[in-house]
């Protein structure tokens, strides 16, 4: 792993932490779900950089739709804003 890849992964880690903070902080649960999609996306790229393509493909396919759709059904059924 060269220093170029290290710099890129450091930037991606910062993105992931920002996404996680927004996930926790947002009052609107829809925004929280979208931010957790960002976390999953960056996690898949980090698995890819760490030479684990099998894990990255699984994380990417999970991220593309399934978790988001399941959480959306639940906030449709219950309530969207956190009191």
């Amino acid at each position: 792993m060269s220093s170029l890849i290290l710099v890129v992964s450091a930037i991606l880690v910062i993105f992931m932490i920002v996404g996680a903070v927004v996930t926790i902080h947002a009052r609107d649960l829809l925004v929280a779900i979208i931010a957790s999609a960002i976390v999953d996306l960056v996690l898949a790229v980090l698995f890819y950089i760490l030479q684990a393509p099998d894990v990255a493909i699984t994380q990417a396919s999970i991220m593309g739709g399934l978790t988001t759709a399941i959480f959306l059904v639940v906030i449709k059924k219950t309530e969207r804003y956190e009191q």
Binding site: P53, D54, T58, S61, G65, L66, A69, I70, V73
Partner: protein
């Protein structure tokens, strides 16, 4: 407020402990001996090029059988928990119908996505992928249809039958291995040339079974969730 401060203090203490522990673990140096053994002997023993697949399906095949069972239990439990919720929810909400562009596009994309999922789990021993991501891709294709067609549904009868057949195939292949080669989930087919599609013995067969099982389980789960919003 004081509660929040204490929680923050606890989180900081745990993070410091974890950091001190992780500083002792060197990053980027070999740690396990068993991984080296699998890498050196994997292709010779089993004929599969993707070592991760060989570990998941054959070296640790019994473990994977248990994990597929956990997946089945979670999907069945979801159906059981949601069963009463469906009946009470009689009043019909007015739903916006999906637009024409979306309906046409998903109708075209649905078979392609299923084909892509089949590609992922059939080539599990050659390229990254395998039964678990392939099944998830197939379930995503069904999710696409659930989102864009109001009347379209995956009948519970068919998902249950597919899932039961796939699980039985997995166990039967293991029992044939017990009869022919002497232990459960042992390889009994010829290994072939490493790198070809028809190689690696029973790995493609088992991964196909896992792909069908994961795909039908997740589709049934999505179908259960969808019926609650109607």
């Amino acid at each position: 407020m004081i509660k929040k401060a204490f929680a923050l203090l606890l989180v900081v203490i745990i993070a410091i402990f974890l950091s001190v522990t992780f500083a002792k673990i060197p990053f980027g140096y070999p740690k396990t001996v068993v991984g080296k053994y699998y890498l050196d002997h994997g292709v010779k023993d089993l004929g599969g090029v993707n070592i991760v697949t060989s570990i998941v399906v054959l070296y640790r095949g019994f473990d994977t059988l248990g994990e597929v069972t956990v997946l089945f239990l979670a999907a069945t439990g979801l159906g059981m928990v949601l069963a009463g919720l469906r009946e009470k929810d009689e009043k019909k909400r007015k739903k916006t119908p999906p637009s024409l562009i979306m309906r046409t596009e998903t109708k075209l994309l649905f078979p392609m996505t299923i084909l892509f999922g089949a590609y992922i789990f059939i080539h599990g021993h050659l390229t990254p992928g395998g039964g678990f991501p392939g099944g998830v891709v197939i379930a995503s294709a069904f999710l696409l249809m659930f989102l864009s067609h109001k009347k379209w549904e995956a009948k519970e009868k068919y998902t249950k039958i597919t899932e039961a057949l796939a699980g039985m195939t997995y166990v039967v292949i293991g029992l044939i291995g017990l009869y022919v080669a002497g232990s459960f989930l042992e390889n009994f087919l010829p290994k072939g040339v490493p790198g070809n599609l028809f190689s690696a013995g029973i790995i493609p067969l088992i991964y196909t079974a896992i792909g069908f099982k994961v795909g039908s389980e997740l589709t049934g789960l999505l179908q259960n969730l969808r019926e609650t919003t109607e």
